[in-house]
Amino acid sequence: MTAAIPTPALQEELATVEPATITGRTRKRLTSRWASLFALVIAVLWTIPTFGLLLTSLRPEMDIRTSGWWTWFSDPQLTLANYDEVLYGGTSLSTYFVNSIVITIPSVVIPVSIACLASYAFAWMKFPMRDTLFVAVFALQIVPLQVALIPLLRLFVDADLNGTFWPLWISHTIFALPLAIFLLHNFFREVPGELMEAARVDGAGHVTIFLRIMLPLVTPAIAAFAIFQFLWVWNDLLVAITMATGAQEIQPLTARLAELSGSRGSTWHLLSAGAFVSIVVPVIVFVFLQRYFVRGLLAGSVKG
């Protein structure tokens, strides 16, 4: 880029000129001081509840029960007692935290692996009824998962699987697959056909092409979907309480948090601290994997 950088004097002059195009005008409007102020106000408003939650989680139990978090400004008192109680105390969330991890990781890995294989087949292999089957798979997306919950649970009970992690893993996999296959199929499909042909001439079979050519090229898409699936499973409550009812030892964090504030909850001062513990993992996952969202891995393969 060799665009000239305007001098300050010129910049001032430019600021008074009305841009000719719509995008130019929009851009100018968006970069004005008032727009910035407006954006700042929205950002602050949106952040206040989270900030309040953070502050609450750090206040002593009695304060939480008797007054709102904003009173902290007149009577500043902070403690880590809630976190201590949440992680190591009698209500120990740490077990549930581990449960959440044990539930989430297979519930991401299994559907993503199956979806990759299925998408590759749907995108690049020829077999009878391929398109019909693909539409059928995607059509499953229409079925609301609430409809499937009870019948599924009965199947699990019949198979004597209830009380283990299997019902959770299997149901999360089932619910994720239609969308996963549809999304990944589109990404697999976008890989230029010449690459496939070049690999075939180079002596690669389907397995080699899948592992050595396709997977590296669609990694950003797989990572993006994996992140969404992770957040979905980690924050899921409905499937968790359905499939893990009465089985305390397999309940995830969300189920436990719901109980803290629920009818039997006498310890709801721990809720805010628990919520923050639960937020930490998704934030870490997002921060570390977000670079996979960046596209452009395909640049340079074929002309251009």
Partner: protein
């Protein structure tokens, strides 16, 4: 090293009746550089892909050496292919790209490194071995694609318009590089292009295809001097041959006041066909300017003059008394003639051209086939 034989090889795409490649018969010698050329949609790429195993063969057979490869998957054919858009693996370095096939074949790491190194040296790519394709220029990518084929040391090289994404100058230099590289390696090569200049300059032999049918296979000069039908005559040569339908009468071919003497044998053949017209072709260099008094010439009004330094070409249209009829009977829009570059006419001038005796090509009006005197 091996020969390649197409034996009535046919490809019919699903949902169409007309074959994309119709009973192609072609024998390619060991170590030969054969160019498949034709207009777009003529089946040249399809033929190459049939040989590569990327396209099914619906009829006939294809053999590499003595092996029948008609229904073999690409990986068992011992071929290497260079694609039009190179198809480099974007996530691999240049070295990995070139060594990919060897790695799959289970060749040892040292051997891969040695062969990739050799090929890189040959193609001047040594300093780029650790780069990804996106950090290379078009010409370098093209060389990597070549390198990927070379390290395989295959029996046959297949190239599908490998130069069409390069700029004009690079294309000319790469053209000679590929041709000399092929001579040095001595590997049988099938090369597809739509550019007849590429075909003429690179190939030991050139096969001209049109509408899925093989028109003629010959050396570049053979095609130029003795095109076997009207299509080849019009396709080979740049600028193109002038082709028009002439009336045959009393041992002469006439069109308006243009008048060309024809051998008796041609006249006899035309008569034998029961026809009284003949298709006559003459290359731009067969036209010579004549004085205006001379009869039998074609008066041409000059529209454009292309001065190339070594040559000059006149593009014009008939301008004599019978101009309308002549323009109707002409297969192209213009008459093209080569003239003295230092003495080229001006735009708008009128020149009388005569066809140099013995340099005409005659074709049957009915079949389009060449008529030999």
């Amino acid at each position: 090293m091996a020969t390649v034989t197409f034996d009535k090889a046919t490809r019919i795409y699903p949902g169409t009746d007309k074959p994309a490649v119709d009973a192609l018969d072609l024998a390619i010698e060991d170590g030969e550089f054969l160019v498949l050329v034709g207009p777009s949609g003529c089946g040249k790429s399809t033929s190459l892909r049939m040989l590569a195993g990327l396209e099914e063969v619906d009829g006939g057979a294809i053999r590499i050496g003595d092996r029948d490869v008609t229904h073999m998957p690409p990986k068992d054919r011992d071929i290497a292919m260079v694609f039009q858009n190179y198809a480099l693996y974007p996530h691999m370095t240049v070295a990995d790209n070139m060594g990919f096939a060897l790695k799959i074949a289970g060749v040892s790491k040292d051997e891969i490194r040695r062969r990739v190194g050799d090929a890189a040296k040959l193609l001047d790519l040594t300093e780029y071995l650790d780069r990804k394709p996106k950090a290379l220029s078009g010409g370098q990518r093209q060389r990597v694609a070549m390198g990927r084929a070379i390290v395989r040391e295959p029996q046959v090289f297949l190239m599908d318009e490998p130069l069409s994404n390069l700029d004009a100058k690079l294309r000319v230099s790469t053209r000679t590089q590929i041709a000399s590289l092929q001579r040095r390696l001595g590997i049988t090569t099938v090369y597809v292009t739509h550019d007849q200049v590429e075909a003429m300059t690179m190939g030991d032999r050139v096969a001209v295809l049109n509408a899925g049918l093989l028109q003629q296979v010959d050396s570049p000069l053979g095609l130029y001097d003795k095109p076997s039908n009207v299509f080849v005559a019009g396709f080979i040569g740049s600028p193109a041959m002038n082709i028009a339908t002439f009336d045959v009468k009393d041992g002469r071919a006439t069109l308006g006041n243009a008048d060309v003497a024809i051998p008796a044998s041609i006249a006899a053949k035309v008569a034998e066909e029961g026809s009284d017209t003949v298709v006559l072709g003459f290359r731009p260099e067969s036209l010579t300017p004549a004085s205006s008094e001379e009869t039998g010439g074609i008066p041409v009004l000059v529209d454009v003059v292309e001065e190339l330094g070594s040559d000059a070409y006149v593009y014009g249209r008939p301008a004599g008394p019978a101009a309308e009829e002549q323009a109707d009977r002409l297969r192209s829009d213009q008459i093209i003639a080569r003239v003295e570059p230092r003495n080229a006419p001006q735009k708008g001038e009128k020149i009388n051209f005569t066809v140099r005796q013995g340099s005409e090509h005659f074709f049957s009006v009915k079949t389009g086939e060449r008529l030999e005197p």
